[in-house]
Amino acid sequence: MDAMDAIKVTYFQECDELLQELEQGLLALEAGEGDGETINAVFRAVHSVKGGAGAFGFDALVAFAHVFETVLDEMRSGRLDADLDIVKLMLRASDVLTDLLQAAKGEGSVDQARADAMAAELEALTKEDAAAEAPAVAAGEAPAADEWGFTPLRMQIDEPSAAQQGDWRLALKPTTAAYAKGHDAAVLLRELARLGQIESRCDFSALPDFGALAPEQAYLSWDVRVPGGVDETAIREIFDFVGDDCPIELAREEWAIEAPPPAIDPPGETDISALIARVQDSQPREASPAADDAGAAKGQRAEGAASPTIRVGLDRVDRLINLVGELVINQAMLTQRVAESGLARSSTVAIGLDELEQLTREIQDSVMAIRAQPVKSVFQRMPRLVREIAGSTGKQVRLVTEGENTEVDKTVVERLSDPITHMLRNAIDHGLESPEERVAAGKGPEGTVRLAALHRSGRIVIEVSDDGKGINRPRVREIAVNKGLISPDAQLSDDEIDNLIFLPGFSTASSISNISGRGVGMDVVKRSIQGLGGRISISSAPGRGSTFTLSLPLTLAVLDGMVVSAGEHTLVAPLTAIVETLQPKPGDVRALGPRSSVLTVRGGHVPLIDVGMALGWRDHPIDPSEGVVLLIESEGGGRAAIVVDAIQGQRQVVIKSLEENYQRVDAVAAATILGDGRVALILDLDALVNSQRTERFDSPLLAEAS
């Protein structure tokens, strides 16, 4: 049934949001920032997960959510104190709930033993602290699908023996309250009539004269005869629904000879003013929590209320972004044509174009802002990861996040998760000490890992810092020397030593733990970040901890590039990879081997790569001293000197895919369209350097040497 499937999809989406709210709320409570509304929100999240789960028959999920919800309800009502241990337990319970939900989605399996153990832990809490409430909780344990929940009205009547099958006599007197709650005697009588042939007689005797009639008042009562064969429970069920507001007297004919007792209505119920007074009395108790809720919600939802939102398909936004990209290119083309036509800069055309350029930039920024998302969605996944790593390493960790509302283009948000995961793993696994080590070092047993996001000079910066032991520099250096990554007599600054951990194949752990040892080293992290036009570095203070700093462009739709020429070709080099540009003196270039040469830069030797040759566009390299060298940092921190004919300038370019209509091209990251309307290729500098490296391995000289 596709409509139900669609609803199920909505349910899962909603659950993802609810689980995030749940975790955020619990984290706020953990940090001591929560209040009554936080507990309410946490309760509601679990409650809603449970409500939907029941509709789809996710029984395991319902059962666990129910136990969880019960504890939260205890907390909500103040019967259970939200102390730190309990909140930590709740956080683990939320992880189990997440797993159960994943399993319901058909993604991943559940460790049933773990879920059961957690449920037992939760149950223990409520048993211990709220034993008195247990029966009420148990009553709600397995809600029947069509249960009519109002408690049946217990009436003190003698149980008729089965042999006596006289007709039922039912005295029915709805109170004013019953009418006020939407009940209708006619409906009740109709229900009775469905059970069998009834005879009903309406008693108008209480009806006053018209002048004295109060429209809201209940005056009528009925005397109903129901066939004796009708089951008593069937009759009572009809009135379960109405409860005390419509008292009934039900008896076999033989016993119901007397008139109904005169005071069926509780005193005061027949008095409208008393009723109003009662309702108003109950106001402070019942309405004020709601009013408080509304007040709190106003503050909390201020943004939401002030700026209504709409949901728009991502494809529409993507298309808009593409179109604006084209607008930017067109505008650049137009500007270039006008400049070429020799119009004065002060001409009205040129001035109009300046304004157009301004507007175009603003449109581009605004459109990019539509697709911008807070990094929250990624940050929210991290507390669980940290708990798991902490659990498996036996370390005590507190995660502090900052700047989770920092926005960045969706294309970037999606790709932050992996590097952050690795940096956090590394920080806990390698950075933090065990509780014993920490205490011995005069620190608290619990380590702190801080995950922060911020904007800095048009880029997003992610910092992961720990207050652990810091990098053991002598050890790092020793490993690097042993692995032949640096020469034993290399002179390295502290910073340079710290950054050795990004070299391919480097691992500081003396034994490969099951956390960091998943085949992904920091070199891979660094490469993937560079692939996004980002950079990563580490700084460390021995005994005080380390900080990873990762910076990425705010979008993958545009790129800051250096436009260069190689022969008659125009190319774009990503600015982030370029360390500096220089014009080498003839003496700085030395041949090394038959075909390769190196550039001497401040005493070091850097391999020279002629772009035109590397791309197969010419047979002989140009003389580097007649061109320009881009000194770049490639993966693993290695440097290379890229020789180009000339630098045309720096420009922000719109990234265009080559793969959409063609295919990947070696050493080319993507393409862009320049002001003259022609396509220019964006270089993949890492691939360029790598291809040269493999080529040189093939050359006889190095083949012998290796």
């Binding site: 909505t10 349910y11 309760f43 029941g54 699908a145």
Partner: protein, 121 residues
């Protein structure tokens, strides 16, 4: 004339579910996502039956029911509570606020329709 039902529930999924079940049964459906929105919706729609959740942000079901009962036009409109809760205490509280009936989630489509027919004449 088909009857109009106002549903008040903060869960998008539950609203979709109710919309499907009720519109298939031939009811007009008006929806609101919490008590405050429910009271607002009441001004425009004249529902024959109201179905509300209890646990909602901003204004919960009790506050909403109470609000409906105090708003003159709908003093007598049947209100069914649709909730995963089933404790006697909570039902009592809903009844005091003025609820007409209580249905425990998850619900069967037929029982919900049946309940609506029972309370609406």
């Amino acid at each position: 004339m088909s009857k109009t039902i106002l549903t008040v529930d903060d869960s998008r999924m539950m609203r979709e579910m109710l919309l499907k079940v009720l519109s298939e049964a031939g009811f007009n459906v008006v929806q609101a996502e919490d008590g405050v929105a429910g009271l607002e919706a009441l001004a425009a729609a004249a529902p024959d039956v109201i179905i509300t959740d209890i646990n909602m942000p901003r204004m919960d079901g009790y506050g909403f029911i109470d609000g409906v009962r105090r708003e003159g036009r709908h003093r007598a409109t049947p209100i069914l509570v649709l909730s995963t809760e089933s404790s006697a205490e909570k039902k009592q509280r809903a009844r005091e606020a003025g609820a007409t009936g209580w249905i425990v989630k998850p619900f069967k489509a037929e029982s919900l329709i049946e309940a609506i027919r029972r309370v609406s004449s």
